[in-house]
């Protein structure tokens, strides 16, 4: 096609594409603050030329496509780092809660142990003094109470985490269902050769959210994408999602199930893995150490008390009994169950020969301070070792979480540099397309004038 109408048609194509480009710019500006939005740009192509003999004539401009700018590799890295960071954050938050019980050197279990032995020391020069004996029982009571509180707080924290697991699994299922649903919509649009970019952005954003919970890998397939955890559990395959479920195990913990397969222990990333790690490893570990210490301490003190005689005038003298209740066999639950077994201060067996003034057996009781009561360690060495462990786990996790969040920040910067909307850039584009539109409009009005001239050809027109 050629001639004035050809020119007009070229100008119209330019008007249309400029308008389209302005619309894209406008859409970018509108979504400048939309989370997960990837900026779009129009890709223009010259219209297919027509040939007249040896002449090849242009036919204007066509809109080839509107493309979203995103870097798939970067998205994968972002997913992985999000999984890492969410797991560490979930762990750190819980570890900080755990370590509060071990924060003070002058109160809590460690100080209670010290105070108990010091109360025995105070009784030593005056072993028949009832007030000093009562002070020993009070110190024993404080120790038992703090063991109970530490164990109960850990148990409560653990049962809260159990709830978190259930909630997280529910959230995973909601997300995977939405992601599969979006896959369906994307494939419909793609079959119609329509722009699915906004849906892809939305899906990418949901996968990012899912990465916050579990370690998913995105595998491109013929039907869109598949999502799999690193242990090979399929969560989404094309347009189908597979829900996870929870099931209460014999120990009362909620296990994560994929069908009939228990995947609780094999989750590697995301807050769910962090939550499970704290619930199944860290808390039981600390609890077990508290149990060992409570049981070892109670047994050693009871044994020492049984070697001496209580404060009484009876003949023959009476050997001492338990100061603490006998810990459960196998130590589990010892910290939570620890209790002072006696209320009568005369039952402390300070005497080594039955006489009221003897302090001989207090030396045996005091010796527990330096005796191996748990894992070959003295009570305080065992305890301070526990403080060190809890502190160093927390501080290492904190350092790892900081590092992960910095990496994540850098990746987000990179993503922003590829996909983020720059208002300056959009303003420049707007000016550019506006100018193009105005120029094309000018061509149209020129063609209009030329057409009028052609129509009025041969008719006198007054020349002003």
């Amino acid at each position: 096609m050629s001639g004035l109408y050809g020119t007009l048609s070229i100008a119209l194509s330019a008007l249309a594409t400029s308008q389209q480009a302005l619309e894209t710019t406008s859409n970018n500006v509108a979504n400048a603050n939309t989370e997960g939005y990837s900026r779009e740009r129009v890709v223009l192509e010259p219209g297919a030329p027509v040939t007249f003999g040896s002449l090849s004539l242009g036919t204007g401009v066509v809109l080839d496509k509107i493309e979203s700018l995103r870097d798939p590799i970067l998205e994968i890295q972002l997913n992985q780092e999000t999984q890492q960071q969410s797991r560490l954050d979930a762990e750190l938050q819980q570890l900080q809660q755990i370590q509060t019980a071990f924060s003070s050197a002058t109160s809590g279990i460690g100080a209670d142990i010290t105070n108990f032995f010091n109360s025995l020391q105070q009784l030593s020069p005056d072993p028949s003094n009832l007030a000093l004996r009562q002070a020993v029982l009070t110190a024993a009571g404080n120790l038992a109470t703090d063991f109970n509180a530490a164990a109960n707080n850990l148990a409560t924290q653990r049962s809260n985490l159990n709830q978190t697991v259930v909630q997280d699994v529910g959230e995973v299922n909601t997300l995977t269902a939405e992601i599969a649903n979006l896959s369906r919509q994307i494939s419909i649009l793609q079959n119609l050769h329509e722009d699915a970019s906004p849906l892809v952005d939305q899906q990418t954003s949901l996968i990012r959210q899912l990465s916050g919970l579990v370690d998913v890998q995105v595998i491109p397939t013929d039907q869109g994408i598949s999502l799999m955890t690193s242990n090979g559990t399929a969560l989404v395959s094309g347009i189908q999602s597979f829900a996870l479920s929870t099931q209460i195990a014999s120990d009362g913990t909620q296990h994560v199930m994929s069908g009939t397969r228990d995947i609780t222990g094999s989750l590697m990333g995301g807050s769910l893995a962090g939550t499970i790690h704290i619930r199944d490893q860290e808390i039981p570990g600390v609890l077990n150490q508290l149990d060992q210490l409570a049981a070892g301490f109670s047994n050693a003190i009871n044994a020492a008390n049984a070697e001496g005689y209580i404060l009484s005038d009876s003949e023959p003298p009476t050997l001492g009994g338990n100061i603490f209740t006998t810990p459960p066999v196998g130590v589990t639950g010892a910290a939570a169950a620890m209790q002072v077994a006696i209320t009568d201060p005369t039952l402390i067996a300070a005497s080594s020969d039955g006489t009221p003034g003897s302090n001989g057996n207090l030396a045996n009781l005091s010796a527990v301070h330096d005796q191996a009561v748990a894992n070959g360690q003295t009570p305080l060495d065992f305890y301070s070792n526990l403080v060190f462990q809890v502190g160093s786990t927390t501080s290492n996790t904190s350092a790892d979480a900081d590092a992960a969040s910095q990496i994540l920040q850098q990746l987000n910067d990179q993503r922003g540099s590829v996909s983020g909307v720059s208002l300056d850039e959009e303003a420049a584009n707007m000016v550019q397309y506006q100018t193009a539109y105005q120029a094309s409009a000018r061509v149209v009005s020129t063609v209009d004038a030329l057409l009028a001239d052609a129509v009025n050809l041969g008719i006198d027109t007054a020349v002003q």
Partner: protein, 295 residues
């Protein structure tokens, strides 16, 4: 390379870091400590548990030593009085051995000696805060009972028990001597010697020998008293040692956890400055873009 057009998350993260630093510095200043939770310094947190134990026990030993010292000095001064009484008895015995004395003179000396005997019994039954000091570990009843049926004129109802008390540094101190080793020591029983002297004066037989025996028993008794002098010296030097250690333990605690307040204050003002700078950057960031210049 294209610049990330939206640095807001970075700025907010930086702000968060600045605020954390402010919080950390404020916490250090408020508590005066660098170790507020174990993760602040796991090694120091563990050592602080041991440090608290040392500090508590250091005070505990000092407290025990105060009690022990009271007990030792009460016992020692009772024994001092007993030595004086025994010297008086010896003087009276020498007087009684004088052949020119009449029976009634000797009887009155014997009477006086009986008075010394009961004084000695009451000294041997000295108590400190309700505990009898010379009954071994039988501390609830008076260990010496006057009884004419006994050859020595008294019965000892205590035992041979000795209490030891830990006073720090792995060191234990014996805090009592039983009456059976002081007043009624085998072969040097002051009660027996005194009673024999009374009997000798009453019968006017063997007074000189009885005085000799009393002197021998008295000097053995005086020698035993040294135990208390030594124990008090040891208690004294251990108190000095513990007071010195106290300073060292608290210095150790400071090294482990005390905040350097000048440094913390500098950190605080630095991080507050950083916070303000970041806030300024955030407020500037959104102010201008190209759209503002298009007319």
């Amino acid at each position: 390379m294209r610049v990330n057009p939206n640095p807001m998350p970075d700025l907010l993260a930086a702000l968060n870091q600045d605020q954390l630093a402010v919080q950390q510095a404020s916490m250090e200043i408020a508590s005066g400590r660098t170790v507020n939770v174990p993760s602040d310094n796991p090694v120091a947190a563990a050592l602080l548990v041991e440090n608290n134990d040392e500090a508590t026990f250091n005070n505990g030993y000092l407290q025990s030593l105060t009690v022990i010292q009271g007990q030792l000095s009460t016992a020692d001064s009772a024994l001092g009085s007993a030595v004086t009484a025994l010297q008086r008895a010896s003087t009276l015995g020498i007087e009684g051995a004088n052949g020119t004395l009449s029976d009634s003179d000797r009887a009155s000396i014997a009477n006086e000696l009986q008075g010394i005997q009961s004084e000695l019994v009451s000294l041997a039954n000295t108590s400190y805060e309700g505990r009898y000091l010379f009954g071994g570990t039988i501390t609830t009843i008076p260990p010496f009972v006057l009884n004419g049926g006994s050859p020595s004129g008294v019965y000892y109802v205590g035992n041979n028990g000795i209490n030891k008390v830990s006073v720090g540094g792995g060191y234990t101190l014996a805090v009592n001597q039983p009456g059976s080793q002081l007043f009624s020591a085998q072969g040097n029983d002051v009660f027996l010697a005194l009673n024999n002297l009374i009997l000798a004066l009453q019968s006017n037989v063997g007074i000189g020998d009885a005085v000799g025996a009393l002197n021998a028993a008295s000097s053995y008794f005086s020698a035993q008293r040294v135990f208390y002098g030594n124990a008090m010296n040891q208690a004294e030097s251990q108190t000095t040692y513990l007071n010195a250690a106290k300073l060292q333990i608290s210095q150790q605690e400071n090294t482990l956890s005390a905040a350097d307040l000048a440094q913390a204050a500098t950190n605080l003002s630095q991080s507050q400055l950083d916070t303000q700078a970041t806030l300024a950057a955030i407020s500037k960031f959104t102010q201008n873009n190209l759209f503002d210049y298009l007319k």
